[in-house]
Symmetry: C2
Amino acid sequence: MSTTEPVLIAGRWRDADATSTFQATDPNRSEPIENRFPVSSWADCDEALSAAVVAFEEMRTLPRETIAAFLERYADRLDAAKERLVERAYAETGLAKSPRLSDVELPRTSGQLRKAAAAARSGDWAMPTIDTRGGLRSCFRSLGPVCVLGPNNFPFAFNSVSGGDFAAAIAAGNPVIAKANSSHPGTSQLLAEEAAEAARETGMPEAAVQLIYRTSHEDGERLVADPRIGATGYTGSRTAGLKLKAAADRAGKPIYLELSSVNPVVVTPGALRERGEKIADEYVTSALMGSGQFCTNPGILVLPASDDAERFIATLAERYGATAPGTLLSPGVAKSLSEAIEVLQAAGAEVLTGGGPAETGRCAVPNTLLRTTAKKFLGDPERFQTEAFGNASLIVVATDTVQMVEVIKALEGNLTGCIYAAAEGEEQDYAKLAYALEPKVGRLLNDKMPTGVAVSPAMNHGGPYPSTGHPGFTAVGIPASLVRFGKLTCFDQVPNQRLPELLRDANPTGSTWRYIDGEWTQKSL
Amino acid sequence: MSTTEPVLIAGRWRDADATSTFQATDPNRSEPIENRFPVSSWADCDEALSAAVVAFEEMRTLPRETIAAFLERYADRLDAAKERLVERAYAETGLAKSPRLSDVELPRTSGQLRKAAAAARSGDWAMPTIDTRGGLRSCFRSLGPVCVLGPNNFPFAFNSVSGGDFAAAIAAGNPVIAKANSSHPGTSQLLAEEAAEAARETGMPEAAVQLIYRTSHEDGERLVADPRIGATGYTGSRTAGLKLKAAADRAGKPIYLELSSVNPVVVTPGALRERGEKIADEYVTSALMGSGQFCTNPGILVLPASDDAERFIATLAERYGATAPGTLLSPGVAKSLSEAIEVLQAAGAEVLTGGGPAETGRCAVPNTLLRTTAKKFLGDPERFQTEAFGNASLIVVATDTVQMVEVIKALEGNLTGCIYAAAEGEEQDYAKLAYALEPKVGRLLNDKMPTGVAVSPAMNHGGPYPSTGHPGFTAVGIPASLVRFGKLTCFDQVPNQRLPELLRDANPTGSTWRYIDGEWTQKSL
């Protein structure tokens, strides 16, 4: 077959203006999947941008209900198309069909869309704020076309055309230009087909959802900096993300990035003594789940030197060695992982189990556990924090709690940080560790591994640079994730009938939360 | 006198490590004021940064009450020192002692500090969010040392050591490194003396407030990008601001900028007919107030061609000509204003009144009114949007409402936009104009001039790029302005006693607003 798959631009599936084509790889066989996808030229991006502007203008006047209905209809269609979607995602990513793709990720994805629909409907996310005496009313309003670039590791839940950024951007009233992740273009295509149908069925503007698969790096940077763009959401590698950030920053365009994170896990002496075996179990499960390919995968384990620690490490090494390595998402991931392991070894880390080159025949690397001392780590913290994305972890053994704190202080910004402590008697140590760790992470966990990012209003899937581009925003959690794609707007002495519905005297739904004269209330004025 | 004024670093007033010195100018005489201020070397910045880190660590464990008490004590001290402060600010800025400095700006400044104190005390700004079922609790936490660079036009209310950014950064729990504006270093020094005393009296860390006066451009860029910095707040010229933005962006450091804005005022045919005279009065008052040196000074007036418009323009020209031009803030402002007027003339605008070079003897430029057609404007919108900071305005005459919309669409991002319409019968025109204007501005006003930025929770003193660096944040308005200096942090399964007070089961004040399980409430759990 030599046909090239179509792009979705301005409401229709059409041939791309392609500079070349590419194929996804089946990571279980390390062989290309037959469908050919286009690398779009700037002409495709340009047309998508112009169509997105038209869609945005239409969306500005749509009832919130239309947007909510679209998101719900799309969610229903995804649930109905589960089998097909899971087959394709499995072929392109090697992630387990069940429970992962079918029973966890797809339901999460449709669930996110439904929560985003509820947020669009209620308008709570926009934080309507009214000062009756001053005649001032403000809220977040839609911002403009949002470009979403999704990661390789969640073909549904963070997909640029169905995931968290997509749902947040649409619910906030913005059209999305989705750039598929090159490792699962076919899955993205199927998703976009459902999105386009749902849009048609619910009366959304034609170009509310558009899909291209790939561009040159140069065109990607041009895209996020284009005057027609409102903002960009990106999840992926630090290198590519920082290039996009530089381009968007220069143009004064907001860009929200979720980049690398090694997600430190800190275990106190008491916790090791009290329940080392149990913690080891939890660690192995979390660290090797999905072959370790989670943004919040625990990658660095900080332990205090002791016999308990040695037993703990031996247990981990044994479990790592005894567990069959999972398939990685792509040849690129396998290569990067092998390289990262080499960097850690070159820095002075000792391989306890695993290491060595990637398998041939499928995308996989042995489960790898490395070890170093806090002293060595502190001598070259940057190299020791090289993200080994996949099924590899680094253990850092410190002499005592004081040195553990030093290691924590040398950490870069991370999405998460975990502390395991004894049930009693370690509050002072906990306080010292937590005090050092909290400024370094977006989410601080106690006695729990970081994988599993609940879609909750109280979630923060974010963190200090370089784990993200800004410490004040979360990519997961509704309504907070929508704010990223909103423009704060104040209406000063604007009469009631001219105000956006969210800011009029009457509560727009009867139950929208608004901040009126210093009180949060669901009342009308 | 040849002594050089001291800087405030690490809790003490000491000689700067100066590379050179500078003097402020009395704009009423165009002569230097005797006090010499140091241009600090990097060594001063470096020491301030390290001291700020120590202060930040202390502030992380301070009761919110201590921070609130400091802000209130500082406000009281400012009110008590009014006479001295006003004298110095008058000498350095030429702004009227009364009502401007004494009766408006100083009370606003101490009022802002008190509102910030209330916000620090209640904790509302941090948006504590609790998901009881998920065991997740999140809120904004203090971020780290904040560098504040204030503008020339508000020696008190936006001063880097007493203004809105200062109050917001401190109330959010962060120490401030203030860089004085070079046009009023003496005022900044007096303010910092009061701040330092208030800090001492209330038990704040030594380096919670630090002051330097000036650095090289290179050191300024290094400062905002330093790893020890949490964020930067900047108000000032676009050129300097964008250089700082580039430096901070490269380092992944948040920087909040308030840059240039021409604040368009749009008047409909009906409004001109109905009350042209009254609107002309309002315009002249707003545009020439403080010699037009407000961030929200109305700089572009968009009118529909008609006899009413000609009468309106004639009235404006007459009033501009008949009003004595005020003193400008500095020789630099006078020079920039003359240059901007020349740029507008070179672009094709006709001078109706004023124009010409700056006065000699004091910093002043004739009140200047320019005029052009929408057609010309649309041919070179960038040049016609040159900000003429001061007592100059550009009138753009369009053929009709359709062309007025075209002019609006060609506008850059602005802090404000105003529409004056007839009391009745123009809703359709209003809707078209407002629909075009809203995405271009942070605040949309009806039948009201933009000067006067109320400190209200519903205020937005922000706007799309390039009026600011991000469309989602406000620099004025409490509690929202504090969020800029916060770090979102989630606590996952963290037991009650280990949580920050704002997130514990018991409501921390009995009346703090928290978002618990989807409801805003003041209750305890």
